[in-house]
């Protein structure tokens, strides 16, 4: 393998990695706040991708409008799922909540299959073309993906660390009861978290379409699981952790593909997850928690 092809694979990895990172942020934030592994998060990306497809292919909307529509629909869907399925179970055992999340995920997948059909819907790439950089072919799609996701991450970091809303979110994730006593509205904060997470997922779905311009009903499940692995790798609940984890998984996948083992890449990612869970369950940047009696 030549050096330039290695660099090219590295850029590919960064491209998919930034999608993983965006999705992982949603997982991580939701997990941080209500300790729920939101299985339906990946499927929100799938819905976003279908919105883009139908907006462009059926209604011939300009791509920019399609993108905005997809992000809006994803955000709304995320909040709706939270209100309908998760809010009634806030005091229920964690296991019930997890099973509900799996149920919602399957509902979205199978609902999409029923509505849109099981076949994949391909659309023209939204960003095309490429340029040469020191002998390496770099596609504009990769540049757009990486730039947009970095901007989104910076914006999110500012939102969480500098605004009142962000303070409320951090407070709720630290101690739900105490935060409520301080006059923070739980429902609003949790809904806001879901909205932000789903907003990022909406952006993620558009960026995913830049890399792989097709939508299938099950595209979200593997993407969601990998993003979750990224979140665990970085340390669940930690925002910089989710970003690092996302990029790490993306680059790892690209490197596995580069040595012609692409059919094993899912197995490698799961193996990483298992190793991380066994030896450093809190992840790279996560906090260690002690179980209380």
């Amino acid at each position: 393998m030549t050096f330039s092809s290695l660099i090219a694979q590295f850029i590919n990895g960064l491209q998919t990695g930034s999608v993983y990172a965006l999705v992982a942020l949603g997982y991580s934030m939701v997990y941080g706040i209500i300790k729920l592994l939101n299985f339906a998060h990946g499927d929100i990306i799938m819905v976003g991708a279908y919105v883009v497809y139908y907006a462009i292919a059926s209604f011939a909307l300009p791509p920019m409008l399609a993108v905005i529509l997809a992000v809006l629909v994803s955000t709304l869907l995320g909040v709706t799922v939270e209100k309908v399925a998760y809010t009634p179970l806030r005091s229920a055992p964690r296991l019930s909540l997890l099973i509900t999340a799996i149920g919602v995920s399957f509902l979205l997948e199978n609902g999409a299959q029923l509505l849109f059909g099981a076949d994949k819907k391909s659309l023209d790439p939204m960003v095309s073309g490429s340029f040469q950089l020191g002998g390496v072919n770099v596609s504009y799609a990769a540049v757009v993906t990486i730039v947009v996701s970095v901007i989104a991450m910076v914006a999110l970091t500012i939102l969480v660390n500098k605004t009142k809303m962000g303070k409320a979110m951090r407070a709720v994730s630290e101690d739900m009861g105490a935060a409520q006593l301080m006059g923070i509205s739980l429902n609003r904060t949790i809904s806001m978290t879901f909205a932000i997470g789903s907003f990022l997922a909406g952006i993620g779905s558009v960026l995913y379409l830049c890399a792989y311009p097709q939508a299938t009903p099950t595209m979200g499940s593997m993407l969601g699981i990998k993003a979750f692995i990224a979140a665990v790798l970085g340390g669940i609940g930690s925002i910089p952790g989710a970003m690092i984890g996302g990029f790490a998984i993306g680059i790892l996948e690209a490197l596995v593909a580069a040595v012609h083992l692409s059919m094993w890449k899912d197995a490698v990612v799961f193996l990483i997850l298992i190793i991380v869970l066994l030896f450093k369950p809190a992840g790279l940047l996560g906090k260690k928690t002690q179980e209380k009696v």
Binding site: Y31, K35, L37, A85, P88, L89, A92, P93, R94, L95, S96, L97, L98, I99, T100, I102, G103, V104, S105, F106, L107, E109, N110, G111, Q113, L114, S221, I225, F228, I229, V232, M263, W264, D266, A267, F270, L271, L273, I274, L277, L278, P281, E291, V293
Partner: protein, 352 residues
């Protein structure tokens, strides 16, 4: 206070055995008279596979209180082990020649092998996975399940010879899963689970579910019992997988995706986690109902997932909760109630 009516243990086993034989006779008569045709026979056999799957997951999920999402992986291990073994024997030709009795020893060995190999996998996966809890256990078992499937799909290119036949599938497996075999295996599985759960080991497992720290503090070796229950669950899933291979005659790794694990989980959750009866009923209903509602087959998975969400919101403990039916207990209760009434009547008469 008079002594309560109680059926003696040997009598209880006698009654249950008689009922099992009666059930078998009823099915056999229904099949031989043609009241249930071959199509329905196939469905009944499928129901058997799903009963074993659901009740085996119920051990880890309902009794142990964990949420493994890789059950399809153990099923796949059992299915491939049994299928690869039985393909190496002359069973296929024997079965084609109509010699159903000559294959029995091969089938028994296949089932035992499937159980053993799945059990080994259960041990290898259970020891690391059970150190984790809740969501993390769910996701790590999901990971292991997917790894098993990916390895089955790609192992041939590493080995250099045809072993699992990858994505193109393992074909020409003798279809050894007759109704009789299925009935016997289902009964054996349910019996083993029942015996295990009623023993002190079963109670130890239940105590871990209810409060792990308390269980540990009264001297229960929680790691040992968690692993035991997990391995037991995996072994039965392997048996179910082996029988599944015998009903279909061909195996594809794509069957054992994450989706399959969820389908089994739906049965356990709807039936009620911790209720064997619940798992059995849910397995029967969820396997039989789609056949009755053929025209709704597109909506099947949508309805499943909707049912899962609604069940969690409105009745999180499932259809049966943790209730388990025991015919003998019910008889005892009825008899005791009648006696109690008689005694109360006698008391009244005395007072008057």
């Amino acid at each position: 206070m008079e002594k309560k009516f109680k059926i003696a243990m040997p009598v209880r086993y006698g009654i249950n055995f008689a009922l099992i034989v009666l059930g078998w006779v009823i099915f056999t008569v229904l099949f031989s008279t043609g009241a249930l045709n071959d199509y329905w026979k196939g469905i009944v056999v499928n129901i058997g596979v799903n009963i074993i799957l659901a009740t085996s997951l119920n051990i880890a999920c309902g009794y142990l209180g964990q949420l493994p999402l890789g059950h399809a992986g153990f099923m796949a291990v059992g299915a491939y082990t049994g299928a690869i073994y039985i393909k190496a024997t002359p069973a296929y030709d024997l079965l084609r020649a109509g010699n159903t009795t000559a294959i029995i020893p091969y089938v028994i060995v296949a089932i035992i092998l499937a159980a053993l190999v799945s059990g080994i996998f259960g041990l290898l996966i259970g020891i690391p996975a059970l150190r984790l809890k809740g969501d993390y256990l769910a996701i790590i078992t999901l990971g292991f399940g997917e790894i098993i499937r990916i390895v089955i799909t790609n192992i041939d290119s590493v080995l250099g010879f045809k072993f699992t036949y990858g994505a193109s599938g393992l074909a020409r497996i003798p279809k050894f899963s007759s109704f009789n075999l299925m009935y016997i295996m289902t009964v054996i599985s349910l019996f083993l689970i029942h015996v295990f759960m009623k023993s002190r080991h079963g109670r130890a497992v239940l105590s871990i579910r209810d409060n792990e720290i308390a269980a540990e503090s009264v001297g229960i070796n929680t790691t040992f019992y968690k692993t035991t229950a997990f391995v037991f669950s995996a072994m039965l899933a392997g048996v179910a997988g082996c029988l599944y291979a015998g009903t279909l005659g061909s195996l594809y790794p794509a069957t054992f995706k994450f989706m399959k694990s969820i389908e089994i989980l739906v049965m356990v959750v709807l039936g009620g986690m911790g209720s064997m009866l619940g798992s059995v009923i849910a397995a029967i209903v969820l396997t039989g109902l789609p056949e009755l509602l053929r025209s709704f087959s597109d909506y099947r998975m949508v309805l499943y997932s909707l049912a899962l969400v609604l069940m969690m919101i409105f009745r999180p403990k499932g259809l049966m909760g943790t209730y388990d039916f025991s015919l003998n207990k019910s008889i005892e209760n009825i008899v005791n109630k009648i006696r109690g009434k008689k005694a109360a009547k006698a008391d009244k008469e005395v007072q008057e």
